[in-house]
C-alpha cells in the first residue's frame, strides 16, 4: 500500500519535472506531430484503395510514440539521474525502488496518452484520419497501448544501465530507436523494405507495435498487403510480453543506483 502510495506520489513529481523541461516536452510530445505534418504534407498518395499514407503513418507514429516516451526517454533520463546523484539519494531513503519504477511508469503512460491524443486530433483535423471503426478495434488499441507502455518502460529501465554517463546516453540510445523506426515500417511501408530488414525488425517490439496499430487504424482489407497476410495479433501479444519479462528481469538484476 505504502509502495503504491509513494509510487503515485513519485509519478506526480515525475510529471511535474517533465513539464518543466521544455526540451523534453517538445521532443516527446510535439515532435511526432511535426513529423506527421511533414510526412503527411509530402506524401499525398494513397498506398492502397482508401488508405492514405498519413493513415499508415499515424499508426506507425503512435507505435513509435510508445517507444519514444518509454524506452528512449527512460534510457536517457535515468543515466542522467544517476550522474546527478538523484538515484543514490533516493537509495538512502525508506522509499522502495518499486515506488520509483511505478513513478516512471506513470510518467510514460501519461506522456504517451497525451502524445497519442495529439497525433489523432491533429491527424483528423489536417489529413482526414479515420478513427478505429469498431469496439473490438478500440479494445485492441487500448491493450496495445497498455502492454506496449509496460514493455517499453521495462526495456527503458533495463537499457538505462548501458550508457556509461548521462551525457553520452542520448548518443547511445537515439540511433537504436531511429534505426528501428526505419526498419519497422514507420517511415516507409513495411512491405517495401528488403526482406533482411523485415526479418531483423521482427526481433524487436517496434515492428509488432506498428503492425498492431495498423490493424487498428487501417481497413481490414489491408491485411492482404501485410507480409504475413495476417495481423498476427496473438503473436504480437506474446512477443511484447516476452520483451517485457526480459526488461523486468534485467532491470531487477542490473539496475545501478550510482556510477561507482
Amino acid at each position: 500500500m505504502r509502495v503504491l502510495r509513494l509510487g503515485l506520489l513519485r509519478g506526480g513529481l515525475e510529471i511535474k519535472q517533465f513539464l518543466r523541461q521544455r526540451e523534453s516536452v517538445v521532443f516527446t510530445i510535439f515532435f511526432p506531430v511535426m513529423l506527421l505534418f511533414i510526412f503527411g504534407s509530402v506524401f499525398k498518395d494513397s498506398i492502397a484503395p482508401g488508405v492514405t499514407f498519413s493513415q499508415y503513418f499515424v499508426a506507425g507514429m503512435i507505435a513509435t510514440g510508445l517507444v519514444n516516451s518509454g524506452f528512449q526517454q527512460l534510457a536517457i533520463t535515468i543515466p542522467m539521474e544517476r550522474d546527478f546523484g538523484t538515484l543514490k539519494r533516493l537509495r538512502g531513503t525508506p522509499m522502495s525502488p518499486a515506488s520509483y519504477f511505478i513513478g516512471k511508469a506513470i510518467l510514460v503512460t501519461v506522456s504517451t496518452l497525451v502524445q497519442i491524443a495529439l497525433l489523432m486530433g491533429f491527424g483528423a483535423a489536417m489529413f482526414g484520419l479515420d478513427m478505429p471503426t469498431s469496439t473490438a478495434k478500440w479494445f485492441r488499441f487500448a491493450w496495445l497501448i497498455v502492454v506496449g507502455s509496460f514493455c517499453t518502460t521495462a526495456l527503458g529501465i533495463a537499457f538505462s544501465t548501458v550508457p556509461k554517463s548521462g551525457r553520452g546516453a542520448s548518443a547511445v540510445v537515439s540511433p537504436i530507436v531511429i534505426i528501428l523506426q526505419f526498419f519497422s515500417g514507420v517511415f516507409f511501408v513495411f512491405t517495401q523494405l528488403p526482406k533482411w530488414m523485415q526479418d531483423f525488425a521482427a526481433i524487436f517490439p517496434l515492428k509488432w507495435l506498428t503492425q498492431g496499430m495498423r490493424s487498428v487504424f487501417l481497413p481490414d482489407s489491408f491485411v492482404q498487403q501485410e507480409v504475413a497476410k495476417s495481423w498476427e495479433i496473438g503473436r504480437t501479444a506474446i512477443i511484447l510480453i516476452i520483451w517485457t519479462v526480459i526488461g523486468i528481469v534485467f532491470s531487477v538484476k542490473k539496475f545501478k543506483w550510482s556510477n561507482s
Binding site: L9, G85, K88, G92
Partner: protein, 284 residues
C-alpha cells in the same frame, strides 16, 4: 555493542586487490559528533558508504543502530527511517523548488519533521520558492542537509558537508549541526577541514592509507596538549630557536638576559593542522 550507534571491528575492503580500508575498529556512542579526518583516498568515503549500506565489505563486523547494514533483509526500510544521509555531491531535481522537494521527501518518512520548520532551520526560507538549479553551492548544500534531517534521523551521516562554503555560511552551518546534536542526533562527519573537526567533534579519528592512526578528542589529538612549543628570537644578530615545554619561563629568562624586549620573539604552539600533517605524513 548495542550501546553504540556505530560499531566497527576489523573492517576491510579491497578494490582491485588493493586495500581501501585495511582493518578499522571504532565505536561511536549515541549522541556523539564523531569526525573522520583524512586525506583524499584515505578510505573515509568507503568506510562511510559501508556504514550507510551503499557498499559491501570484504571482512569485519559492522553494526549501525544495532543492525548490519549489509544484512538488513526486511528491516531495510525501517532502518533507513532512522538514518539520514548527506552525500558528497549532488545536482539533482533542478526543476523543482526547495519547498516542493522538502515537502516531497517528508512523505517518505513515518516520523518526518515539519517541512516548513526544516526549511527555516536550514536557512532556506527566503529561497523556498526558488528552483533548485538557481541556488548557490552553499544553499544547495543546506538543502542536502534539509533532506538528510527531514526524517528525524537518530543517526546523521555528513560527508564533507561544508565544501565550497564561505566562512560565514560555514559558521551558520556549524550552529545547525550543534543544534541537531543538542536534540540528541548522533552525527558522523567526514571532513577535510581541521577547524571543522575542532569546532564540532567530540572525538576525531584520523585515517590514512585505510587505517586509523588515532582516535581522540580534538584537544588531545597527536599529544597536542603535551607538545612542546617552539620559541624563536634574535640575539647577537643571529636567529635562535628552542623547543620547550615551559615557554613562559624561557621567555622570562631570555628577557632578563637581554634586559627587556626580545627582538623578533615568537612562541609557536603546534596547531591541529601541524599535528595532523605530521600524523598523515608519517604514513606516506
Amino acid at each position: 555493542m548495542s550501546t553504540s550507534a556505530i560499531s566497527i571491528k576489523g573492517l576491510t575492503k579491497k578494490y582491485d586487490g588493493k586495500f581501501a580500508v585495511a582493518g578499522i575498529d571504532l565505536e561511536v556512542a549515541y549522541g556523539e559528533i564523531f569526525a573522520i579526518l583524512g586525506p583524499n583516498g584515505a578510505g573515509k568515503t568507503t568506510t562511510v558508504e559501508i556504514l550507510e549500506g551503499y557498499r559491501s565489505r570484504d571482512s569485519g563486523e559492522v553494526r549501525v543502530l544495532g543492525d548490519d547494514p549489509q544484512a538488513l533483509g526486511e528491516k531495510k526500510y525501517s532502518w533507513r527511517e532512522r538514518i539520514g544521509i548527506v552525500l558528497q555531491s549532488s545536482a539533482d531535481a533542478g526543476d523543482l523548488s526547495v519547498r516542493e522537494t522538502v515537502h516531497h521527501f517528508a512523505k517518505y518518512y513515518e516520523r518526518a519533521k515539519d517541512p516548513e520548520s526544516v526549511i527555516a532551520l536550514t536557512g532556506l526560507s527566503e529561497k523556498a520558492d526558488d528552483k533548485i538549479r538557481n541556488l548557490s553551492g552553499g544553499q544547495r548544500r543546506r538543502l542536502d542537509v534539509a533532506l538528510g534531517i527531514i526524517g528525524s534521523p537518530e543517526l546523521l551521516f555528513l560527508d564533507e558537508p561544508t565544501t565550497g562554503f564561505d566562512p560565514e555560511a560555514r559558521r551558520a552551518f556549524w550552529e545547525l549541526i550543534k543544534q541537531l546534536r543538542d536534540e540528541g542526533t548522533t552525527i558522523l562527519l567526514t571532513t577535510h577541514y581541521l577547524d571543522e573537526a575542532e569546532a564540532l567533534a567530540d572525538r576525531v579519528a584520523v585515517i590514512a592509507g585505510g587505517k586509523i592512526i588515532e582516535i581522540s578528542p580534538p584537544e588531545t589529538l597527536g599529544g597536542r596538549h603535551l607538545a612542546q612549543a617552539r620559541v624563536t628570537w634574535v640575539e647577537g644578530g643571529k636567529s635562535h630557536e628552542r623547543l620547550t615545554s615551559t615557554p613562559t619561563n624561557d621567555v622570562a629568562t631570555i628577557s632578563a638576559r637581554l634586559g627587556g624586549e626580545i627582538p623578533e620573539l615568537q612562541v609557536i604552539r603546534p596547531s591541529l593542522e601541524d599535528i595532523y600533517l605530521q600524523m598523515i605524513g608519517g604514513q606516506e
